[in-house]
């Protein structure tokens, strides 16, 4: 091995404390070093040229640059050596600035330390070998899980860039929570009006394969090469035959099932389309209430369907899709309490009578009441007696920011939608009074604060800072007892209706989905991004991206921004045919591997697989570990865990580290 050592003065930065010429002279004595020189500024063009010339002149096998931190200039020098034909991984940095000259004063000791650091690097580089980035083929197709606004946005972005998308939605229609909203803050434009065209665009897009009423069952593979099994739940309606005429839903004799889309405030039939603008506009049979499924009789829908589209024999079907990237956009659900607080999984707020009093409702129920297509055709009427409420109390932070009863996080959108609700109410009931109990108003966002001020100043919504302790019914009124902490007095309001801004919570099956895909989640069940600031839409599993409220409470613009960001991450991946990855990954010595699979247990990336070893005659010999180069991120935890060191991290092999320690031997 012929090694060249280049000691940088970095002007005064190193040169003042480290005797660079002496360090270079001493380094020259290290076996294998054929040239060792010092230089004022090695990262400058002349400095780099000196390295390049030396490589050619001395036919060097490896280079050590003693300079600043590798986090500064490792890439620079690796590029420089590569330009003259040396493998970039044959260049190592000895950090004699940040970790030597800058932190010590004693020239003698600093110089000694610098020489030691150079020796470590030389011993390591002697055991380096040429590495080439790993290339993995990329399937240029994406899977989007969740057909809410985030999923729709991601799917459209990717499809419009010319790549195929599989969009999976567990409900019978796409649209998500946004389709339930009446109007949106801060512009008060109609949610359906802006969303429906997007839904139709998804449906008609030639590049988008839409799988509604379907769920992701299994995810195998790795970035660029996922194999996803999707379960299609039976609709009992043949999607290819149904024209969406709606006759079956009109004739169905069962009319008492709670309408999920309308938040249970009205009823629906057993065969139903979730809402008029549903995409696809194909009904589904709820087999838990359908008379045919319960008694074997009826078949009214079969009789009226001219297209013979009803098929009671449909079973679950499984489809397998191969994709290169996965975008998770599964959204949120709302903190809900059952009719009997005692049996509810979430304890708390029994004092508000939520789930007990019919006119104490949540935000989504109010959205439906205010929606022109809702159960009251947009008129605000209370659920109990269908009368117009003249006094409405809105309570914020029900379940949010409340460690003792709910969750410690802020649900983020409630301040805004409560202002919107109060405003909508005032616009519809001119002589009505609206009160809002709040902890503080969080209205960060473009035009958000102005919106809240408008509610207070123009629409005369009365904001009361304080919590509500109790709500009870009294002669058809709801007595809201609370505190006005600014005035310092207790308040009692006899309201006709109460709207609770209940917390946004993770979907109840989000943990299961996260485990299926192999991505982490937080203690609330929200999915975790890999870096909260710099990589907010990537999960820790390469090739899996996050969009929208599945990651944390998000409003619509944020969800859409995240969705486009996630789509662009997928598109970056699709930009090349082969995926290049750092070659510093783990590798198994199959002949010595005993197959204890401790490496598999410690691997955070599911990168270690079981591989069968067979002899020449095809007989099974043993199982060994196999590192999937597409998944391994190169942490080396497997290496340290393996008792026989049968798996080694390339670039940080045992031999290299052994040599580094040896370089410091005083014996």
């Amino acid at each position: 091995m012929k090694i060249g050592v280049f000691v940088c003065h970095c002007g005064e930065n190193i040169g003042k404390t480290v005797d660079c010429p002496r360090a270079a002279q001493e380094s020259a004595k290290i076996p294998g070093v054929v040239i060792s020189v010092d230089n004022k500024y090695t990262c400058s063009d002349p400095g780099q040229n000196m390295i390049k010339n030396a490589i050619k002149e001395y036919n060097l096998d490896g280079v050590v640059v003693a300079s600043c931190s590798p986090h500064m200039h490792e890439k620079t020098f690796r590029k420089a050596v590569a330009s003259v034909g040396m493998n970039p991984y044959m260049c190592e940095i000895a950090n004699i600035r940040e970790q030597c000259s800058w932190v010590h004063d004693d020239v003698e000791e600093a110089t000694k330390k610098a020489i030691d650091l150079i020796r470590i690097a030389v011993e390591k580089v002697k055991r380096n070998f040429a590495l080439t980035p790993i290339k993995v083929p990329v399937t240029k197709r994406a899977l989007v899980i969740g057909g809410g606004i985030s999923g729709i946005q991601s799917a459209l972005d990717i499809a419009n860039a010319g790549y195929e998308v599989v969009l999976v939605e567990k409900e019978p229609s796409i649209g998500g929570h946004m389709s339930q909203l009446s109007e949106t803050f801060p512009t008060l434009d109609c949610s359906q009006c802006i969303l429906t065209p997007r839904m139709v665009e998804v449906y008609q897009h030639p590049k988008i394969k839409l799988l509604t009423y379907s769920e992701v069952e299994k995810v195998e593979g790795f970035i660029g090469n996922f194999k996803v099994t999707i379960k299609k739940k039976p609709r009992y309606v043949d999607e290819t035959k149904c024209t969406g005429c709606g006759l079956c839903t009109q004739k169905c004799p069962i009319k008492k099932a709670p309408n999920e889309f309308e938040q249970g405030m009205i009823k629906r039939t057993a065969i139903y389309v979730p809402f008029p603008q549903a995409v696809p506009n194909i009904p589904v049979i709820d087999n838990t209430v359908c008379t045919y499924f319960r008694t074997g009789k009826c078949q009214m829908c079969v009789k009226v369907c001219g297209k013979e589209a009803i098929d009671f024999n449909q079973k679950e079907r499984f489809v397998v899709e191969e994709v290169g990237a996965i975008i998770v956009a599964t959204g949120y659900s709302l903190y809900k309490i059952d009719k009997k607080p005692k049996d509810s999984p979430i304890k708390g707020y029994g004092e508000y009578g939520y789930g007990i009093y019919p006119d104490v409702i949540d935000g989504l129920q109010f959205e439906r009441l205010a929606s022109a297509s809702g159960p009251t055709a947009g008129e605000i009427k209370r659920p109990s007696d269908k009368k117009e409420p003249k006094k409405v109390v809105f309570i914020q932070c029900v379940g949010s920011r409340d460690e003792s009863k709910g969750f410690s996080y802020c649900s983020k959108i409630c301040c805004m939608y409560t202002a919107k609700h109060a405003m909508l109410y005032k616009h519809k009931v001119h002589d009505g009074e609206a009160y809002v109990f709040y902890m503080d108003i969080r209205s960060g966002g473009k035009m958000y604060e102005e919106f809240v001020r408008r509610a207070i100043e123009e629409d005369d919504v009365k904001y009361i800072r304080g919590r509500v302790s109790r709500i009870y019914e009294d002669g058809g009124k709801y007595i809201v007892k609370g505190e006005d902490t600014i005035a310092g007095i207790p308040v009692e309001i006899d309201a006709d209706m109460v709207v609770l801004a209940t917390a946004i919570v993770a979907q109840n099956d989000s943990k299961k989905l996260a485990q299926t895909i192999g991505i982490p989640y937080d203690k609330y069940g929200f999915l975790n991004e890999v870096h909260p600031k710099l990589r907010p839409v990537e999960s820790s599993t390469a090739g899996v991206y996050l969009a929208g409220a599945c990651q944390a409470p998000r409003d619509i613009p944020e969800s859409v921004a995240m969705a486009s960001a996630a789509a662009s991450k997928a598109l970056v991946l699709f930009g090349s045919d082969m995926l290049e990855r750092e070659p510093t990954i783990a590798k198994v010595n199959e002949s010595t591997c005993a197959g204890c699979f401790y490496c598999q247990k410690v691997c955070a990336y599911n990168a270690i697989e079981k591989k069968e070893i067979k002899d020449r005659n095809g007989n099974f010999v043993k199982y060994v570990a196999y590192v999937n180069p597409g998944l391994c991120q190169g942490c080396g935890t497997c290496n340290a865990t393996c008792p026989s060191k049968s798996v080694e991290l390339i670039g940080y092999t045992d031999e290299q580290i052994f040599a580094e320690i040896n370089a410091l031997a005083t014996l």
Binding site: S591, P643, S644, K645, F658
Partner: protein, 287 residues
């Protein structure tokens, strides 16, 4: 009658096993392992207080693995090794038929008479004298009370020394080591195809029996068994120079129990100690 002879005969005649790993008497106070593959040799089988070897060590051997169904005589302690081997993917539960008994301890070493004084130390603190995992039980005596264990007091004794004294103690003990690796061969959990000590690029552990190399070797051996050792004590029994290896293993067992409430090889399918973690793991010692 569920005696060993009947059970073994029955297993072979009904083709439930292809091989039984068991013990054969040499004289009244000695046994040796025997591999019985047909009805003919069944009458050699014994299972008594002189059945010292932990036979599970053979289960990971290549020439044993080729049998489809293996019967094995195993004491409660030996069964913990079998359970751990299953948990470490080395053997399949379905392939092993465990024949066990209630155990009243075995002697310290061959040639000694079975009496209170000669009962092996490991038996005195054994929690699985009536095993929890097994397939067949042979008729056996009920559990008797055994003498009080002394191992933890010996561990405590060492703990109460100064580090220098302890270092000196182990330096002396390890300096006896002749690197015969009998400890490794007898250990059911040392099943690596190539032991770390035999890896020479790089030469993590010097192979010559110098004091320093011996120290390093014994430390790493003990570390590799931390949270894995089931305390059968075979390493110490086979050591030709009587290094108190059980002391090291017992200490690490105590650590595993105190820190993680973990005991090895008690349940099939239970997560291994190393290879898993908890957010609540102790970090008082980390700055």
């Amino acid at each position: 009658m569920n005696n060993l002879y009947n059970i073994a005969k029955d297993l072979f005649s009904t083709n439930k096993v292809d091989l039984i790993i068991g013990y054969k008497s040499i004289d009244s106070r000695r046994t040796k392992p025997i591999f019985v593959s047909s009805n003919e040799d069944v009458d050699h089988l014994v299972f008594n207080e002189y059945s010292l070897n932990n036979l599970s060590v053979y289960l990971t051997r290549k020439d044993i693995k080729k049998y489809n169904k293996i019967g094995i005589l195993a004491k409660g302690c030996d069964i913990r090794a079998i359970v751990q081997l299953i948990n470490e993917n080395q053997i399949e539960r379905e392939k092993i038929l465990i024949i066990s008994k209630k155990c009243n301890g075995v002697v310290k070493d061959f040639g000694l008479e079975y009496n209170e004084e000669n009962i092996a130390e490991k038996c005195k603190s054994c929690k699985v004298r009536t095993p929890k995992v097994f397939d067949l039980m042979i008729d056996s005596e009920e559990e008797k009370k055994l003498p009080e264990p002394t191992i933890s007091s010996r561990v405590n004794e060492l703990d109460s020394m100064t580090p220098e004294e302890r270092f000196e103690f182990w330096r002396n003990e390890f300096s006896k080591c002749i690197r015969c690796y009998a400890c490794r061969q007898a250990c059911p959990l040392c099943y690596c195809e190539r032991c770390i000590v035999d890896k020479n690029i790089p030469d993590w552990i010097e192979s010559s029996p110098t004091q320093r190399a011996n120290f390093s070797w014994n430390l790493i051996r003990a570390f590799h068994l931390s949270g894995r050792c089931i305390g059968c004590g075979e390493c110490e029994r086979v050591c030709p120079v009587d290094i108190p290896l059980s002391l090291l293993n017992a200490k690490m067992g105590i650590v595993a129990f105190k820190e993680f409430n973990y005991a090895t090889g008690m349940e099939i399918g239970e997560p291994t100690l190393v290879g898993n973690y908890s957010n609540e793991d102790n970090e008082d010692f980390i700055k």
